[in-house]
Structure formats: structure tokens, C-alpha cells
């Protein structure tokens, strides 16, 4: 997993997660399947037309039909990627399903020119067989680019939706414990709080024994930080809740 760090015009750093060989393969596979279905439909349609209406159609019409299908085939095979990547801002149906997007290496949206270059260069990436050149280029280039990407100055990034940051709800707090901890709460920092939040966000998904083990570990660390005497018996979950609630109110 590799990141591409950029400096935006708003003067902040942000980063794209580059997509490696695996996710790009999935995207290409889906697109190839879609193209395959289109070819099948095209071929099937022609065959059906000729088969069913063959007697009624004049020979000229059949030939015109074949000519049109030939052109359509050519248009689809060359135009599919160009069409979608232009219209859907760097995504094809396969890429969208795989959560990928093509962007310029500067982080801007791809232009028609970029899309053209990277897709015509598929001919080079397909050399000598089975997309070998493209795969080697993705593995060894700095930003996981195939030859077409290098020529067009684009990268393929992962765009999986990340979940919204969670909030912890207010807890029922052990008042006595809270009063004892309050003077030392400034020792707890954002990192600890993040840990507490993550723990409660995931607790429901854990096995009870596992949750207890983790809670004990966290509580031990927090207790050490807050200067509680060793050997004091506390309920780990209740303790963490109290610390979380105190920090939250701060």
C-alpha cells in the first residue's frame, strides 16, 4: 500500500492511496467482463438478425448490417475506456465497482487528453502478451504507473469510502471515581482518547472475553498514566468509561 502525498493550492498536505496490481486487476477484470458481454450481445444480435430474418432481408441489407457491426465492435473496443473515463471523471464501471479512479499526478481531474494518451498506450502495455509490460511497470515504477500512465502523467488511486469518525455517547459515570480522577485528567491526551473511542466503537463486535482482555490492557495503561496506586481493584470497562467521559467534557 503506497501513498502519493500532495500539497494542495489551499496550502495543506493531503494524500492519495495508490492502487496496486491487485485492485487494478479487479477493475480491469470487471471491465473486460462487461466488454465481453457487449461483444456477445453484438455478435448474438447480428447472428439472430441474419438467422431469423435472413430470408426476408436482401443480401445488401445483411452486408450493411455486418459492416455496421464491424464498426461498432471497433468503436466499443477502442472507445469504452476513453468514453467512461472522460464522462465519469476517471472512472469506468469496473473501476467504480473496484473503488478506483484515475487522477492526474497533480491531484486534478483527468482531461480528455490524459484519457486518450493513457488508453491508446494500452497497446504498448499489452506487449508482448497478457499485459506483461504494464504489470512490470506497475510493480517497479515509483507511483504504480503503467506505461500509459507515465506518458499521460496520471495515477490510479483508491477511493474506498472511509467511515465517518465515530463519537462516543455520554456514559453513565461512577461519580466517586470521577471526582478522584478529575485533577489528573490533563495527563490524558488525544491519543489515549482516540484509543478509548476506538475501543467502544468496536466493543460490540468483539467476543466478551476478548473485549475484557483488551479493556484490561487499556485500563492498566491509563491507570499508570493517571497515577493510581498499584494493586487497586477497578472494573476496567467502567474505569475507561469514566476517563472517556471526563476527557469528553474537558
Amino acid at each position: 500500500m503506497q501513498d502519493l502525498s500532495l500539497y494542495s493550492s489551499e496550502k495543506i498536505y493531503y494524500s492519495y492511496r495508490l492502487s496496486g496490481l491487485g485492485s487494478r486487476f479487479i477493475g480491469l477484470l470487471l471491465d473486460t467482463l462487461i466488454l465481453g458481454v457487449v461483444y456477445l450481445v453484438l455478435g448474438g444480435f447480428t447472428a439472430a438478425m441474419v438467422g431469423v430474418f435472413g430470408d426476408m432481408l436482401s443480401e445488401t441489407l445483411i452486408i450493411v448490417l455486418v459492416a455496421v457491426v464491424l464498426i461498432l465492435y471497433f468503436l466499443v473496443s477502442f472507445g469504452y475506456f476513453i468514453f467512461f473515463e472522460t464522462l465519469w471523471n476517471g472512472q469506468t464501471p469496473g473501476k467504480r465497482a473496484a473503488g478506483l479512479r484515475v487522477v492526474r499526478k497533480t491531484g486534478e481531474a483527468v482531461t480528455f487528453g490524459n484519457v486518450l494518451v493513457r488508453n491508446l498506450m494500452r497497446i504498448v502495455d499489452a506487449l508482448p502478451a497478457g499485459n506483461a509490460a504494464g504489470m512490470i511497470a506497475i510493480l517497479f515504477s515509483e507511483n504504480c504507473q503503467r506505461v500509459g500512465d507515465m506518458a499521460a502523467d496520471t495515477v490510479v488511486v483508491r477511493e474506498k469510502n472511509t467511515d465517518e469518525p465515530v463519537l462516543i455517547e455520554s456514559f453513565s459515570v461512577d461519580q466517586e471515581m470521577a471526582e478522584r480522577l478529575r485533577p489528573a485528567i490533563h495527563l490524558v491526551d488525544e491519543r489515549d482518547f482516540n484509543l478509548i473511542r476506538d475501543f467502544f466503537a468496536r466493543m460490540s463486535g468483539l467476543r466478551p472475553e476478548a473485549a475484557d482482555t483488551v479493556a484490561e490492557k487499556i485500563a492498566r495503561g491509563l491507570a499508570g498514566k493517571l497515577g493510581l496506586a498499584k494493586g487497586e481493584t477497578i472494573n476496567p470497562v467502567a474505569f475507561i468509561k469514566t476517563v472517556g467521559a471526563l476527557y469528553r467534557e474537558k
Partner: protein
């Protein structure tokens, strides 16, 4: 401020912005309501500020990666330099394309030179009876052509019903050859020159055979009506291939990689621009060339296409003389 408060305070902003981004992705920016359109810029800037604040105060939390994701996603949808539309396409063919050809005319001349010289070479090889002529034009074709002469046929009679098929097959073949011409520029031009010379030799040798059989007029009337646009398109693609080759062979002050990036886009544009010319050529070849009209009429038609193409390219030069630099739009990286 602790992260809890920060999230509580700003969560609505983030959700709203995310909704707008989803809408842009699904239905395009044009579908946004007036208010959303107005807000999207300020919202984006506010969120970048949130990201900067979160990076500094809450490092390594999932909030930072969430905000980073929002910013990265928005950046690639909001910052764009050019969108493809019917209008930009029209603009390209009316002004940008001839201007491009004019601007890179050196490459077009070079590619044409390769073609013309190899036509002459092919004719000379065949005329002098060189043993190399067999390589240019295989014996089977030579015999087939000669046999047709013996039967009094010159290839002008394609069955009417087959014309559309013939035309589209020629088109697919020509476009494929053209793409190879362009893409093989990456072999430092060797592949491009090979394709140009091979086609030129073939044409030259055939012309010499026909001339030898006193069919010169007939031959050129068959070749030129579609040949002029077709050869022009091939020369354009050759030029595009040579541009890519030039970037690799002689990158000048740039690294080879940067030179390639700079030249690749205009080269591709020239190549893509040539496709309608190839379509026209294929249509002519399928429908006009086989017509049973006097060869002179076909030659007049050929001259007409030549003049038309000449004027088209010339219009590019005049645009430049007026100093309209901004029509370079489609060329800009």
C-alpha cells in the same frame, strides 16, 4: 478543543459536503442546486482547514484519514482544467487541429518525405527489376494483378452489395495501422518509419506495374481519390509517431520522461484528429473509387480533395498569424 467537540461541531459540514460530492459523481456538477453550487468552494476550503487542524492536533486518528479522503476526492472533482464537450470538439476541428498540424509541420513534412521517397524507391526497384522487388511486392500479388490485366479487369468493379462491408473493413484496417504508426514511435521511431516505408514501397511498386501495363491513368484514378486523404492521414500519424520518437531521441533540456509527456498529448491529438479523415477516405474508397465513371472525373475529384485538405491546413497557419495564441487550448497540458 478535544476531538469529540471538533467532530460534533463540524460533522454536519462534512456530511453535507460528502453528499454534494456523491451527487457530482452520480449526476454531474450541473445537477447541483444553486445553493450547493455556491457553497461547494467555501465548504471545500473550510474542510481543508479542518484537515490541517486535525493533522496538527489529532494525528493518526481515523478522523484525519476521513478528512483526507474527503479532500482528496473533492480535489480530483473540483480542480479540472478542461472538459470534453461537443463544443470543444467542434472547436478542435475548426481551429485547434489545423493549428496543431501547422505548428508541427516539420514532422508532417518529414513523414511525408519518408512516404514519397519510398514510393519512388519502390517504383525504381520494380522498374530496374531488382531482386529486392520481390520483397516489396510478393509474387502472388504480382501474378494476380497481371492475370487481371490479361482478363481486362483493373479492379474497378467491386460488387455493389459488398461496398459497405469493403468500406468498413478498410476503415478498421487503416485506423489500426495508423495507431501502430503512432504508438510505435516509442521504439525511437524505428517502427513508425518501417510502417511508412513499407506502405510507400508497396504503392510505388504497384504504380510501376500499372504504368508498365499502360494503365497509369487508370491506376492513379483508382488510387488518388481516396489516396490523398488516406496518405495525408498516414503522414499525420507518422508525424505523431515521429514526435514521440523525437522526444525520446532528442529530449533537449528535458529528461526523456518529461519530453515524452510534453509531446505525447499533441501527438495523440494529431492522431485522433486524423480519424475522421480516415473515415472519409474509407467512404470514398468504398463508394466513389469503384464508380464506373471516366478516370479523368475521378482525378478531378482527387484534386478537389487535395485542395480541400490544403486549405484546411492553411487555415491553421492563418490563425497563427493573427496571433490568436489562445486557440492553443487543446494543446495545453
Amino acid at each position: 478543543m478535544n476531538s469529540q467537540k471538533f467532530i460534533e461541531l463540524n460533522r454536519d459540514t462534512w456530511t453535507r459536503f460528502r453528499g454534494i460530492l456523491d451527487q457530482i459523481d452520480k449526476k454531474g456538477a450541473a445537477s447541483l442546486s444553486r445553493q450547493d453550487m455556491k457553497d461547494v468552494g467555501p465548504l471545500f476550503r473550510r474542510i481543508t482547514a479542518h484537515l490541517a487542524y486535525a493533522q496538527a492536533n489529532y494525528p493518526d486518528t481515523d478522523m484525519v484519514s476521513y478528512l483526507n479522503h474527503l479532500v482528496a476526492r473533492a480535489h480530483s472533482s473540483l480542480y479540472r482544467t478542461e472538459t470534453a464537450s461537443v463544443r470543444s470538439l467542434l472547436n478542435f476541428y475548426c481551429r485547434g487541429f489545423p493549428w496543431l498540424i501547422y505548428r508541427y509541420r516539420k514532422y508532417v513534412f518529414t513523414a511525408s518525405l519518408f512516404l514519397v521517397l519510398s514510393v519512388a524507391w519502390g517504383a525504381w526497384l520494380n522498374h530496374s527489376g531488382s531482386s529486392l522487388a520481390v520483397l516489396v511486392l510478393p509474387d502472388e500479388i504480382r501474378e494476380a494483378v497481371n492475370q487481371n490485366f490479361a482478363e481486362g479487369k483493373t479492379g474497378s468493379g467491386i460488387e455493389d452489395s459488398l461496398k459497405p462491408l469493403f468500406s468498413s473493413a478498410i476503415l478498421v484496417n487503416n485506423i489500426t495501422v495508423s495507431f501502430y504508426c503512432l504508438v510505435l514511435g516509442i521504439t525511437w521511431g524505428l517502427g513508425t518509419v518501417f510502417i511508412l516505408v513499407r506502405n510507400g514501397l508497396l504503392l510505388g511498386a504497384l504504380a510501376d506495374i500499372f504504368a508498365g501495363a499502360q494503365q497509369g491513368l487508370e491506376f492513379w484514378s483508382l488510387i488518388l481519390p481516396h489516396g490523398i486523404p488516406e496518405l495525408f492521414a498516414v503522414a499525420l500519424n507518422g508525424a505523431a509517431g515521429l514526435m514521440i520518437a523525437g522526444a525520446l531521441v532528442r529530449p533537449g533540456d528535458f529528461t526523456r520522461r518529461d519530453a515524452l509527456k510534453l509531446k505525447a498529448i499533441p501527438a495523440m491529438k494529431i492522431s485522433m484528429g486524423s480519424i475522421p479523415i480516415l473515415v472519409a477516405a474509407a467512404a470514398i474508397e468504398g463508394f466513389v473509387t469503384p464508380l464506373h465513371i471516366p478516370p479523368q472525373a475521378k482525378l478531378v475529384f482527387a484534386v478537389f480533395t487535395g485542395v480541400l485538405l490544403g486549405y484546411y491546413v492553411y487555415s491553421g497557419s492563418s490563425k497563427q498569424r493573427k496571433g490568436e495564441d489562445d486557440i492553443a487550448g487543446p494543446v495545453s497540458l
